[in-house]
């Protein structure tokens, strides 16, 4: 069984309204060195399989369901 970590982020061309609010909140706390915040999603999945077959399967999952390619980018890591 592999531990798959999936990171989903809004495409850089899209305004991340949530990220902007977080950035403003940080600035109001005095952390004015924070120049940008982008809020994304992080998924951990325990999946049977390994190697290229597993990577292919996870790519499919991301393309079909986990991410919307119109607005989001994704990357993933496969670990033990």
């Amino acid at each position: 069984m592999a531990l798959v970590k999936v990171y989903i982020t809004l495409k850089p061309t899209l305004l991340d309204a949530q990220g902007r609010v977080v950035q403003n909140a940080l600035a109001s706390m005095g952390y004015d060195g924070v120049k940008q915040v982008r809020v994304g999603k992080y998924l951990e999945m325990h999946v049977d399989g390994e190697g290229d077959t597993l990577r292919k399967q996870v790519t499919e999952m991301c393309d079909k369901l986990l991410a919307n390619p119109v607005i989001e980018n994704y990357r993933f890591e496969v670990g033990e």
């Binding site: 809004l10 919307n68 119109v70 607005i71």
Partner: protein, 231 residues
């Protein structure tokens, strides 16, 4: 003529749509369960507003894989009519039956209020009976109604006159101030290339009787009813 209203777990505008079609517009209408796989008897199907499957992951993302969706795709391919309202619009985008996507409102707030809409193309099956002399008043109720699309998609929408509704002010000008959610080019509703599929964030079913403050939404249903009756 028969209308259908799809019910997903979490749909909450299904009864409003059903009521308006049956009691206000007097057309036959039936509910369609999300697990149904045969919708061949319907002429026009409504994907109603709500929070299908809790809107988990992304709005409309899980609903897209409901058993009924393959049947709806075939329905659209046969040239039958399909309208997605609010969450229904989000589902249609996730299902790639309409281009683009709907993301979090720019102000991050859930907005529930009347807006003005300008009819951009009055020659579609959905808009021939919609009033055009002044903007429509129809409410919105959403947290994720900010329409986004890349430049190529926008160019296609323009070329095909597929932007049907834009948010505007009371005089009909699509200004920044009258854009409630940050949608690109104030877009509130679009159609597919053959105009039998419409997606819109505002709720025409909530604006179909004077008693409720506006009946400007009724023209959208009346248009498609007339179109079906003619065919």
């Amino acid at each position: 003529m028969k209308f259908g209203v799809v019910r997903f777990p979490g749909s909450n505008c299904d009864q409003d749509a059903y009521y308006v079609l049956r009691d206000v517009l007097n057309v036959p209408v039936e509910y369609i369960w999300h697990a149904d796989t045969d919708v061949r008897s319907f002429d026009c199907i409504v994907l109603p507003g709500g929070f299908s499957y809790g809107d988990y992951l992304r709005t409309g993302a899980i609903a897209r894989f409901a058993p009924v969706m393959d049947a709806l795709r075939a329905h659209a391919e046969r040239g039958k009519f399909l309208i997605g309202i609010c969450n229904g619009f989000q589902v249609l985008c996730e299902a790639h039956l309409l281009p683009g996507a709907l993301v979090r409102n720019v102000g991050l707030k859930f907005i529930c209020r009347q807006v003005h809409l300008r009819v951009e193309n009055a020659a579609t099956p959905w808009t021939t009976d919609a009033r055009t002399e002044r903007p429509l008043r129809i409410p919105i109720a959403h947290g994720e109604g900010c329409y986004v699309a890349d430049a190529d998609t926008l160019a296609e929408l323009h070329a095909g006159s597929r932007i049907l509704f834009r948010y505007c002010d009371a005089e009909g000008h699509p200004t920044t101030d009258s854009n409630p959610n940050g949608s690109v080019e104030n877009i509130a509703g679009i159609a597919n290339a053959s105009f039998n599929v419409l997606g819109m964030m505002p709720h025409p079913e909530r604006a179909s009787e004077r008693l409720l403050g506006s009946d400007d939404g009724r023209g959208i249903f009346a248009s498609v009813i007339k179109r079906i009756a003619r065919s």
